[in-house]
């Protein structure tokens, strides 16, 4: 019984981690940017969905859509206002650009977080769930919402996979991550590719945020830990490798769930951290890292 509970709960939380991490690694893989405002964008999407569904009363579907849209718009804003400016700056040496982008996205994330706290207080919010009630799986009473979360995560990841591997636009994105110059030689505007990637990332982060909001709830305080968590998972899996991130997300998700059930909820985060330390020491490029 406990076994099934762990299996199911772990699956749901891991799927959520996977979706968030996929977006994070996509952006890094294609554009080389470690977006430290990742968590803030997720929280903003969730809070937008909560506000729309609740205060404006548009109901759960439209609320969720509004949340995803918010993620998308914020992501594009991050690109146009913050990242692109630094990437194109003539006054910064190439090697230095990374730390500038890190610092700038960090500040941008703080701004978003504070804006949320200012407008809606730092109290936790939950998004009105699209599905309700419980179902029984192998005798384990599971909220339908949890299953919905896992399903949507995988559908989204699947859609992303189809896009990257089966559509022309997606292949251009994949190519851009491997060889930007080569892509331009093919006559594809690199800047268009970048905008497309940031838009996709925004949708991914927005979806992850809304789902998180429905399943567990978020508050403005969640932004930092969410970014740290995505960062850890992505590095564990290997920067730039989407499949690595997926595997790592499940490893971390299950480690946390196992610890919470078998040891104590208070120590939940620790084994994952220790694993990270070990991996950093033994195999720094992560499980499936390319570099």
């Amino acid at each position: 019984m406990l076994f099934w509970q762990i299996l199911i709960d772990g699956f749901a939380i891991s799927s959520l981690y996977a979706l968030g991490a996929t977006g994070f690694t996509l952006i890094f893989g294609v554009t080389g940017v470690l977006n430290l405002s990742h968590g803030a964008i997720m929280v903003a999407a969730a809070v937008a969905a909560w506000a729309a569904a609740g205060s404006l009363g548009v109901g759960s579907y439209l609320g969720a859509a509004f949340g995803v849209l918010t993620g998308l718009l914020l992501s594009l804003a991050t690109y146009f206002l913050v990242v692109r400016r630094l990437q194109r700056s003539q006054r910064i040496r190439e090697e230095e650009k990374e730390i500038f982008i890190l610092t700038a996205t960090l500040l941008w994330g703080i701004m978003i977080q504070e804006a949320i706290a200012y407008l809606y207080t730092n109290n936790a919010k939950t998004v009105l769930p699209i599905v309700d009630g419980v179902v029984s799986i192998v005798g384990v009473r599971t909220p339908a919402n949890e299953i919905f979360t896992a399903v949507v995560c995988w559908l989204t990841i699947g859609a992303l996979w189809l896009f990257v591997n089966r559509t022309r636009a997606g292949k251009a994105v994949l190519a851009a991550s491997m060889n930007p110059r080569g892509v331009t030689l093919l006559g594809i505007e690199l800047s268009v590719v970048y905008v497309a990637v940031w838009a996709i990332y925004g949708a991914l982060a927005g979806t992850a945020g809304v789902l998180l909001g429905m399943f567990l709830g978020v508050s403005s305080y969640s932004a930092g830990p969410l970014t740290a968590s995505a960062f850890s998972i992505v590095v564990l899996g290997g920067l730039g490798s989407v499949s690595g991130s997926l595997i790592a997300a499940y490893v971390v998700g299950y480690l946390e769930t196992l610890t919470a059930y078998l040891v104590s909820p208070a120590y939940r985060a620790i084994p994952a951290l220790l694993l990270l330390v070990v991996v950093m020491y033994v195999r720094p490029r992560g499980l499936l890292g390319r570099r």
């Binding site: 709960d9 939380i13 730092n122 998004v127 599971t142 949890e146 946390e256």
Partner: protein
């Protein structure tokens, strides 16, 4: 109208003009000393303005000050509230406290509903010999420190119920409602790992068996927890009749997940976030059936002053006050009263006067425990003094269930909760 630091008040403008004509003198810090005995009485308010609960503190304090000033002030002197947002940080609170005393020369400070913050401020209250009253923190350590070193820590007053008192009040209510009313026999304690819950849980562990509820387990989780699924699953596996709660830092998330998972066990106890009027919306209605301890409830006239305060607050600020708004409001009144009785704002005299407080406020009759008591400077509880209430969220409203003479409804639970012995 709230004064945040930096904004100039008419009194300061007058003083500034007088001072400008003696510019050199005005530069020295000591020039304000003569003004202190005739000028306004300043009360510093340090609070978590971004938190739902904390935001009421400065507002309620200002409301009280405005009312007192409209009635002539204290012996002719007006009360001025000087407000600081501590961003829920102990370090910022310490800074704000130092600023309040050294720069803004406040006569007393009302600070925070977070135990960690108050504990960080307590030694500074002693070092800077300035009265500190908390409107919302619960940790027993606050009063324990005063008992340990009365001479130094006597400037601190615990203006809210201590965790020890809270656990006793929860047990009193549980006896009437759960044991006598619903014939419950077993319980699991679920609390967040924080300063205020250590004495609370100890209190629960002691008083619950005495009223007839056997404690099957005691689960403490990190306040950063976001996923409560394993916790509820574990509790459910032990099959208690009720979950006795001690949560404040979290509230929305466990409640939503409780409903989403359809945990068949009722929740009863301390849940600070449940006291907020926005709790229903924040949880999208998952609050239905949650039973929580409070010092106030909509429409409940705990004393003759309760409802007029609420009406005035709503009229002025547009929303209902959080629980620490009630206590902050009372604190301004009884600090002013103490200053009046002492005839001075001198800290030692003020302490002596505060110890003799006998004030009927919005949550009950305020009296402090005297020197020699292990909880010196804590509030006295019991019938005729302060008993608190027990409320339940029903269909978007907070309905009072206890004490019986103030009850306004009957207990109902969502369909997935099984009540009664053997749950």
């Amino acid at each position: 109208m709230i004064r945040f630091n930096g904004v100039i008040s008419p009194a300061a403008v007058t003083r500034g003009m007088l001072g400008a004509s003696a510019v050199v003198v005005a530069l020295a810090a000591g020039s304000f000393a003569w003004a202190e005995d005739q000028g306004p009485i300043k009360i510093g308010v340090i609070a978590e303005a971004q938190a739902v609960a904390g935001s009421s503190i400065p507002l309620a304090a200002q409301l009280a000050a405005d009312e007192i000033n409209a009635n002539g002030g204290v012996d002719g002197r007006k009360i001025e509230i000087v407000s600081y947002d501590n961003h829920s940080s102990s370090a910022e609170s310490v800074r704000a406290f130092q600023r309040a005393v050294s720069e803004d020369h406040v006569n007393a400070v009302i600070a925070s509903y977070v135990s960690e913050v108050v504990l960080a401020l307590e030694p500074w209250s002693a070092r800077l010999k300035t009265v500190l009253v908390t409107p919302g923190a619960a940790s027993d350590v606050i009063t324990a420190n005063i008992a340990k070193d009365y001479e130094h820590n006597k400037y601190t007053f615990h203006g809210y119920l201590t965790s020890g008192s809270l656990s006793q009040l929860v047990c009193d209510a549980a006896k009437d409602m759960l044991v006598d009313g619903l014939k419950m026999k077993t319980a699991v304690i679920m609390s967040e790992d924080a300063a205020w819950t250590t004495p609370l849980d100890a209190g629960y562990a002691e008083c619950l068996p005495k009223i007839g509820l056997q404690v099957l387990d005691h689960i403490r989780f990190s306040p950063d927890t976001t996923d409560f699924t394993p916790i509820f699953n574990k509790i459910e596996g032990e099959k208690p009749d009720v979950i006795i709660t001690g949560i404040s830092h979290v509230g929305v998330q466990p409640t939503v997940q409780w409903k989403s998972q359809e945990v068949p066990i009722a929740m009863f106890g301390i849940a600070s976030q449940a006291t907020n009027s926005t709790f229903w919306k924040d949880t999208n209605g998952a609050a239905e059936g949650v039973l929580y301890q409070g010092v106030s409830g909509p429409g409940v006239a705990v004393t003759a002053k309760t409802l007029p305060f609420v009406d005035a607050f709503v009229k002025k600020f547009g929303n209902t006050p959080s629980y620490c708004g009630y206590t902050a409001y009372d604190e301004v009144y009884y600090i002013a009263d103490a200053i009046h009785r002492a005839g001075s704002t001198d800290s030692d005299k003020l302490v002596a006067a505060l110890e003799k407080t006998d004030y009927v406020g919005t949550i009950g009759r305020v009296q402090f425990l005297p020197e020699g008591d292990p909880h010196v400077h804590g509030l006295k509880i019991g019938a005729g003094l302060i008993t608190g209430l027990f409320l339940q969220w029903q269909h978007g409203e907070q309905i009072n269930m206890w004490p019986a003479d103030l009850a306004k409804g009957k207990l109902t639970f969502p369909s997935f909760v099984k009540v009664g012995a053997g749950g």
